[in-house]
Amino acid sequence: MALMETTPDTLSAEPVPAAKPQGYWAGVAARLVRDPLTMLCAGMILALILAAIFAPWLGLADPYKGSMIARLKPLGTEGHPLGTDEQGRDMLARLIYGGRLTLFIGLMPVVTAFFLGSALGIVAGYVGGLTNTVIMRTVDVFFAFPSVLLAIAISGALGAGIVNSLVSLTIVFIPPITRVAEAVTSGVRALDYIDAARATGASAWTVIRVHVIGNVLSPIFVYATSLTSVCMILAAGLSFLGIGVRPPEPEWGLMLNTLRSAIYVNPWLSALPGVMIFVTSLCLNLLSDGLRSAMNVRD
């Protein structure tokens, strides 16, 4: 058997994957592009956001200007392709302008809660012990209330208004994100590569920065994306109840409320804000599903 090569430098026979070295995010992007449904949803959301941002330049009617004679015009009316609301305001304009507030209130609290909740959860999950107990038991207190009830209670206490809705919704979404972040982090914390990193003498902060965050952020991010639809519906709900956005601001939830009385007169018209909420939250949910599978490295 002396003929057998024994030096360690005989690795040329080992197979090397043919694929070019590719960054993680490039891989995620490549997988996303191959997923038509997710791309469609992303396109819809992007279109809604762009329309909301550029609404003043789209040549729409004034969303605040009503007309006593042109109230509750049906869909397809000349000059009002989506009809008019109970004060004769153009529905198309109000729906597009309404997207501004609705999307803002729907996304902002989740974005804020994403950062705060992830930070809390990662610290709780990585440090463990007493810190974990304090953070997680506090979070549990919030879980005792259904999220709708919690949002209503906080908003009610703070009073109506956009800023107060934002604050109350943020508070509602911190606990679930913290809980997911903690669970994911303590899972990663138990893996050997964290031990290997600690064994180099790296500080806790360095280990978290280099080894933990990159591996926990994507599941938390995907979870947070799925919360945006809930948040939008909650925001709309607050407006509907009159403790969120106040009239005459266009906002889908509020519009749904004010058009409620028209449901027997013109059901299609009064359903429009609901359709917008439904489509947007469906797109957000499908987008988060698509992200989840695209971010999965090991397949």
Binding site: P8, L11, E14, P21, Y24, A196, A197, G201, H211
Partner: protein, 348 residues
């Protein structure tokens, strides 16, 4: 092959000073249960372990699951905090004289699961260079590249790959390169070749032998495979349920296993002879639960030589009369223990 700038921390104790002394090391893990999560018992993972590792030698640690060999490894490198005991690295005790960060410069570890020990999001180069960056060594990247080259991974081909693109053997080479990039003096190899295919295992063992010679390394080699431990080690330490039961030079223990447990462990090795297969299991049953280990000698519940004294008195680790370097913790070898077969040694 380019010369590698291997700069371990300087030797301070001289050649006679053991590189590592472990004294009375102990670690119990609480077992929590019930509604309030109160401690319901303690896993006595490592209980009063003593040993030394001389400079340049390789100490093999063997034992079955739950014997505490992996916990010992983690205690040595400070990944688990010890309850009690002393870890003395080149004459300096961890804690008072030697901060943890400095210990980790001198002691590195290679783990069993080559995949789980690599961050899936980091390139191979970043993983290997991480430690050098943390310790503030100059030129971490070029150091990492030359170390990759040394373990047989072409840096131009592998530096920017991710762990899932590599085979198990290649990943374990990455882990070795990462440990050595810190220029350690002692490397703890915790089942480092156990998960590899046999044909790849031999390649990695050859590599480990070469590196040991080239960089003057000291190894602690933990494994359940006696053949591998025998091949790579100078001395072998046998653990059972958190305690050291026997420690001896490899040839001495291969010649004669003094502790009944060591003997069973050796007889459980496959015979490799189709005409002379194992006919009787050396031991019955599984190792007991380390939560409530038996009193006295922990092995007495499975030992065919157990007598009254074994159930009550803990045997101490002492050198054999003929060979003081061959130490065993068994009443059979202590003429004063009161064991009826004492002084006769373990019958074959």
């Amino acid at each position: 092959m380019s010369a590698i700038d291997y700069a371990p921390s300087p030797d301070t104790g001289g050649p006679a000073q053991p590189l590592l002394i472990v004294r009375d090391l102990q670690k119990y893990f609480p077992v929590r249960g019930g509604i309030l999560g109160r401690a319901q018992g303690r896993v006595q993972a490592v209980d009063g372990v003593n040993f030394e590792v001389k400079k340049g030698e390789t100490l093999g640690i063997v034992g079955e699951s739950g014997c505490g060999k992996s916990t010992t490894a983690k205690l040595l490198i400070g990944l688990t905090e010890k309850d009690r005991g002393e870890i003395i690295f080149d004459g300096k005790a961890l804690g008072r004289e030697l901060p943890l960060k400095d210990l980790r410069r001198g002691v590195q570890m290679v783990f069993q699961d080559s995949y789980a020990t690599l961050n899936p999001r980091l390139t191979i180069l970043d993983s290997v260079a991480f430690g050098a960056r943390v310790q503030g060594l100059p030129n971490p990247e070029s150091l990492a590249r030359s170390m990759m080259d040394r373990v047989g991974l072409d840096p131009d081909r592998f530096a920017h790959r991710y762990p899932h693109e590599l085979s198990g053997g290649q990943r374990q080479r990455v882990n070795i390169a990462r440990a050595l990039a810190m220029s350690p003096r002692l490397v703890v190899l915790d089942e480092a070749v156990s998960a590899l295919d046999k044909s790849v295992e031999a390649q990695v063992l050859n590599l480990l032998s070469d590196l040991r010679e080239e960089f003057g390394l000291t190894y602690i080699f933990i494994s359940h495979d006696l053949n591998v431990v025998r091949y790579i080690s100078d001395r072998i330490l046998v653990m059972y349920l958190g305690e050291v039961v026997e420690v001896a030079p490899v040839d001495a223990i291969w010649e004669r296993q003094a502790h009944p447990y060591t003997r069973s462990l050796f007889s459980a090795m496959p015979s490799m002879d189709p005409d002379n297969r194992t006919e009787e299991p050396p031991l019955a049953g599984d190792p007991p639960n380390p939560i409530n280990p038996p009193a006295g000698c922990r092995f007495h519940t499975r030992c065919r030589h157990a007598s009254g004294v074994c159930k009550t008195t803990v045997p101490t680790l002492a050198g054999l009369p003929l060979n003081a370097a061959h130490r065993v913790a068994c009443h059979l070898h202590d003429a004063t223990s009161g064991h009826p077969e004492a002084g006769q040694g373990v019958p074959a």
